[in-house]
């Protein structure tokens, strides 16, 4: 079957299954396979091995073309604010804690804001993490206005001479207009109160998410300008293939991946590793 002649139908079928099973989606998979079949006409001896490496090259190029892929949070003269947002349960609070730890290891003075004032014990959760990482956490009483937490956290960051403010927001489905409005309001508060700061708005996407991950990136990206995505729970067998179309169609780069439930389990996204994992 794979001894070096024209690739058989089952060769293309198995490639299709690999990509779709990795959540790359049928649309993008179809396009990739079609392009590859055209290219393969130029190869006299296409077997599974060089077929896969050709595909790996194509996928890597797709990702490398998305500006900001695998880049860490940016720092400059002014402080940086990292805003973590995304749907319910995606891993924002844990990522906020990991981010604080990670940046502190780089010598940054970090402050956390618990801007989820809605969900039960959300502030307690972030406070507990803050204790572990030795990071100050700005919190308000439950039920308060998340915008007020953001405002106070900005003042505290300025007063304390912090390099970085990491804001954890409540989970929200992009289908809820009032919750998206609340998010937009938070970004306005950031614009008004620290306009010269670098703003990193990162969408946290669970690696196990299917095609809805694209909808999320699209909807959140329409509401506020996103500067990147974090793929959480990437320690699972889920391949996170949805980020291929997120990158391609929306130009949104994956900056980090979450690799576990511990505070150190965050690292920069590596497109090569991602492609290898996706293709098995």
């Amino acid at each position: 079957l794979f001894s070096g002649e024209v690739p058989t139908e089952s060769f293309w079928d198995s490639l299709e299954e690999t990509l779709i099973s990795g959540d790359a989606g049928i649309e993008l998979t179809g396009e990739i396979i079609r392009n590859l079949r055209e290219k393969s006409g130029f190869f006299r001896a296409m077997n599974r091995e060089n077929g896969l490496s050709l595909l790996a090259g194509v996928l890597y190029e797709h990702l490398a073309a998305v500006k900001g892929t695998g880049e860490p949070v940016r720092f400059g003269q002014a402080p940086t604010v990292v805003l973590l947002l995304g749907v319910n349960g995606s891993g924002k609070t844990t990522t906020a804690a990991k981010m604080a730890w990670n940046l502190q290891k780089e010598g940054k003075k970090v402050i956390l804001a618990a801007a989820d004032t809605f969900r039960a014990a959300a502030a307690d959760q972030l406070k507990a993490w803050g204790e572990r990482s030795g990071t100050r956490v700005v919190t308000h009483a439950p039920g308060g206005d998340p915008g007020a937490v953001v405002f106070d956290a900005i003042q505290a960051a300025k007063a304390g001479g912090h390099d970085c403010l990491v804001i954890d927001t409540a989970g929200r489905l992009h289908t809820k207009a009032n919750l998206m409005e609340e998010l937009i309001k938070m970004t306005r508060i950031i614009e008004r109160n620290c306009p010269e700061w670098i703003v990193e708005s990162l969408l946290v996407i669970d690696a196990v998410t299917g095609q809805n991950g694209f909808r999320q990136a699209q909807a959140f990206g329409n509401a506020i300008p996103l500067t990147g995505a974090v793929i959480s729970k990437y320690d699972h067998t889920a391949k996170g293939g949805i980020i291929l179309s997120v990158g391609r169609e929306l130009g949104l780069p994956v900056r980090y991946v979450g690799l576990g439930e511990g505070i150190e389990d965050l690292k920069l996204f590596e497109p090569e590793e991602f492609v290898d994992a996706l293709l098995g």
């Binding site: 349960g89 039960a120 014990a121 909808r215």
Partner: protein
């Protein structure tokens, strides 16, 4: 929509007369596409399409003047059959207390669902929710607060207690003393590939001897739904599925995949963050949604 696509496929053919196997194949490619876009697992979709193909090659479709309609009807019937048709209620034990164990991946909605189910049955039963997640920071507090908001009894560990099995025994005693007739155990999220945590789950199941073991699945779960569900089902026999965050716009194909691979029925749908936001699962509405 799928209906429009199928009508497009069959449109030019009514004048030609007979439908051919080729025409059916073209139609089925559209069905498969709809299923995959809807996050149904690759292999589940393949098997389902083959079942539909067998029926779609029958005379009642090939001779029909409305073949698109016929094919759609078959698609719905086959999905319905796979979903296990009808509504599946929560089971209660003939010898109370009824015990429910909620399990699943991280962030799927277990803690919230635990209190939602308790609330739903609280007018006919006296439920107690038990916190068995000692890993996630403030998980016990989260359950405590939700239970309090819902007016539901709560039992949690003492400061520093880390043994889930010990808590189960204490909770059963507590429930017996206070005459709770339903006990819901909220467990820590875990990856199906984490051997230690899957072992812990099996041992929790032995300690609880649950009336129902409910796998809580996020409606936006993609292709991995099959691996997750069969891994959990392999370690601790599942009796029901709860699909959460159905109030979003994900197509929810994971529900079909999970049902197909475990044979376990979806019992509830989480439709919001409030405690009241839990519905009986409606397989027909979900089938329409999956197909887009």
């Amino acid at each position: 929509s799928l209906r429009e696509r199928l009508e497009g496929v069959f449109k030019g053919l009514k004048n030609r007369g007979k439908l051919t196997e080729e025409d059916i194949s073209a139609a089925l490619r559209n069905v498969r596409r709809a299923l995959l876009e809807g996050d149904v697992n690759f292999r589940v979709a393949r098997d389902l399409v083959e079942k539909i193909r067998e029926r779609a090659l029958g005379r009642d479709v090939l001779d029909s003047i409305t073949p698109a309609q016929q094919v759609i009807a078959i698609v719905f019937e086959e999905i319905s059959a796979l979903m296990g048709g009808g509504r599946h209620a929560l089971a209660f034990s003939s010898k109370p207390p009824s015990k429910y164990l909620l399990v699943g991946l991280q962030g799927s909605g277990k803690t919230t669902t635990c209190v939602k189910i308790a609330k739903k049955i609280s007018d006919s039963h006296k439920p107690l929710v038990v916190a068995c997640d000692f890993r996630r920071p403030a998980a016990v507090e989260q359950l405590r607060v939700l239970a309090q908001q819902a007016g539901i009894g709560f039992f949690g560990p003492e400061e520093g207690e880390k043994d889930a099995r010990l808590i189960v025994d204490k909770a059963l005693d507590y429930a017996a003393q206070r005459l709770y007739d339903v006990i819901l155990f909220d467990t820590a999220g875990r990856l199906d590939i984490d051997e230690d945590l899957m072992d812990e789950l099996a041992s929790l199941g032995q300690a609880v001897e649950p009336t129902e073991t409910l796998l809580v699945v996020d409606a936006m779960t993609g292709q991995e739904a099959v691996n997750v569900a069969s891994a959990f089902h392999g370690r601790i026999p599942l009796t029901g599925i709860v699909l959460t965050k159905v109030d979003g716009d994900s197509r929810g194909g994971a529900s079909l995949s999970v049902r197909a691979v475990t044979g376990v029925p979806v019992k509830f749908a989480g439709v919001g963050e409030r405690i009241a936001d839990l519905e009986q699962f409606d397989p027909d509405r979900m089938a329409q949604r999956i197909l887009g």
